[in-house]
């Protein structure tokens, strides 16, 4: 059973948020963030060696969320594990009550902090979705029957601001064909662009949660525009952040995020939002308060 899946099916405006595990074994900050979020959102994503930088495992974080009474969404990349390891981790996750998985390709190894490592990519994100569907049919990827069958709620991502967009849309369609039940998008800032994307995405039977990445300064926005594939922060938002009084840029970013969430909810642009505060998880409850999302 997945509380997150129930939330998706209920038709309500679904809210998820992301937490990042530590570099090491100190779980106190992570526990603190989970504590802040677990009763405010429908699911908490745990990143998986995000940006190919070594961290405490996403599975460990997801189990921690479960133990603390929250609803975890396990992020699983194909970069670090072959099909044996992926399937084994899925068994482990399911046996510990982690029943939602977000399937990702994973960043290239060389963009991270262990550049010399071997990237695995035995499967890709589409094939991982397909593999999870196979497990739920009661057998593994080699066709062997399972003693205890996992039934995950499975999701994937899409980048609505990708340039060019068409290759990503075709892959989005493959992900849905492979069984994706929900999609958490890469950050969206330009609501007109997002509307255009949703006009297309609405043709498919899948729940879409719009990605909200908290902007903390004009510099961060400019950096992402320049360096992060598929992110486009419009100039008016950069100006707004730049015009914030000294020390108040984060406050402005919080307001921008809250305003976007309101727009997406009030105009029914998407089925929900996925908030990525990237190191500023502390402020997510305030974003939710300002967006009028209360539980």
């Amino acid at each position: 059973m997945s509380r997150f899946k129930d939330a998706l099916d209920s038709g309500k405006f679904v809210v998820t948020a992301e937490v990042g595990p530590p570099k090491g074994c100190n779980l106190e900050p992570l526990k603190h963030h989970i504590g802040l979020l677990k009763d405010r959102v429908d699911g908490i994503n745990v990143t998986d060696n995000q940006s190919s930088v070594l961290r405490y495992p996403s599975l460990g974080g997801a189990i921690l969320i479960k133990e603390m009474g929250g609803e975890p969404i396990l992020q699983m990349t194909c970069r670090d594990r072959n099909r044996l390891s992926l399937q084994a981790d899925l068994f482990f996750a399911y046996s510990r009550g982690v029943t939602n998985v977000l399937c990702l390709t994973g960043d290239a190894v060389v963009v991270g902090d262990h550049k010399e490592a071997k990237g695995v990519f035995d499967l890709d994100s589409v094939q991982l979705l397909d593999a999870i569907a196979t497990l739920s049919e009661g057998h593994d990827l080699a066709g062997n029957p399972l003693d205890g069958v996992p039934h995950f709620c499975k999701g994937a991502i899409v980048t609505p601001e990708a340039k060019p967009l068409e290759p990503q849309l075709l892959k989005f369609e493959k992900k849905i064909e492979a069984g994706a039940e929900f999609i958490q998008t890469q950050a969206v800032y330009d609501m007109n662009n997002f509307r255009t994307f949703m006009d297309y995405a609405r043709r498919f039977e899948v729940k879409i949660l719009a990605g909200i990445v908290l902007l903390t300064s004009a510099g961060m926005a400019k950096f992402m525009n320049k360096n992060v594939p598929g992110i486009f922060v419009p100039q008016n938002l950069i100006d707004e952040l730049a015009g914030a009084p000294k020390g108040k840029a984060l406050e402005t970013g919080i307001n921008i995020a809250a305003k976007m969430i309101r727009t997406i909810r009030d105009e029914k642009l998407a089925d929900g939002v996925h908030i990525m505060a990237i190191g500023k998880e502390e402020v997510v409850p305030r974003i939710l308060d300002l967006a009028g999302i209360t539980r």
Binding site: S125, I157, A162, Q168, E177, P229
Partner: protein, 222 residues
């Protein structure tokens, strides 16, 4: 062809420490074409080694030789008179050539002068690019003649990752996104239906994961 790149000179010199007489053996195959392991390369490397060792007051005698191919017993045999007479052989062939030599001459140390880098071709003189990872299960018919295993940094089979932007790969803005190339080509060929089908997970046994590979022409085994 198999492309190789010469190892750093210091590394080569370290291999030759303690040896007084060596053969530098070139290969007339692929590495001659990519200008790193043929007759000319043998001459240049041998001179460099001699000069360096002379400078150190530790001269070395070098026999320069190049055979047609080092990956073929017939040609490897051609140096059988020379090998017993040297302390070591520095092979300028690809890894296959070095090993064919090492298998044939078991009493003499064999050292590689090259790093074997990839299977590819030259887009212009002195400019070589990778095109094949010898996965053993050619998929080019589905992908417009552009290999997702060799050209996508992650060897993805079902389209570009989210790191593909403006046709370039997330690992380096100078690297083309293999999947963007494939999609552009399939569109030109009016074969986009080949992209729309989900490619199943690969069987890597045909690649390296099934152990060392062989190809046997039974009709030649009599």
């Amino acid at each position: 062809m198999v492309v190789g790149e010469r190892k750093p000179f210091e590394e080569i010199m370290k291999m030759l420490e303690g040896h007084k007489k060596v053969m530098v053996l070139g290969c007339g195959g692929c590495v001659t074409v990519c200008l790193t392991g043929g007759q000319d390369a043998v001459r240049v490397l041998s001179s460099q080694i001699r000069m360096a060792r002379d400078k150190d007051g530790n001269p070395i005698e070098i026999i320069e030789k190049t055979v047609e191919r080092q990956c073929d017993p017939e040609y490897v045999d051609q140096v059988q008179e020379i090998v017993p007479d040297v302390d070591a052989v520095l092979s300028m062939a690809c890894g296959a050539g070095v090993q064919f030599m090492a298998e044939r001459y078991t009493k003499t140390p064999l050292y590689p002068a090259l790093n074997t880098t990839f299977v590819g071709g030259s887009v212009k003189e002195g400019y070589y690019v990778e095109r094949c990872q010898t996965c053993g299960e050619c998929k080019l018919a589905y992908t417009g003649g552009i290999c997702p295993i060799a050209r996508c940094s992650k060897s993805l089979l079902n389209g570009p990752c989210g790191g593909s932007t403006k046709g370039k790969c997330e690992i380096d803005p100078n690297v083309d996104c293999g999947w963007q190339l494939i999609l552009d080509r399939l569109r030109d060929l009016d074969q986009m239906d080949r992209y729309e089908q989900i490619l199943e997970i690969a069987d890597w046994r045909t690649s390296r994961d099934g152990g060392p590979r062989k190809m046997i022409r039974e009709d030649f085994q009599r």
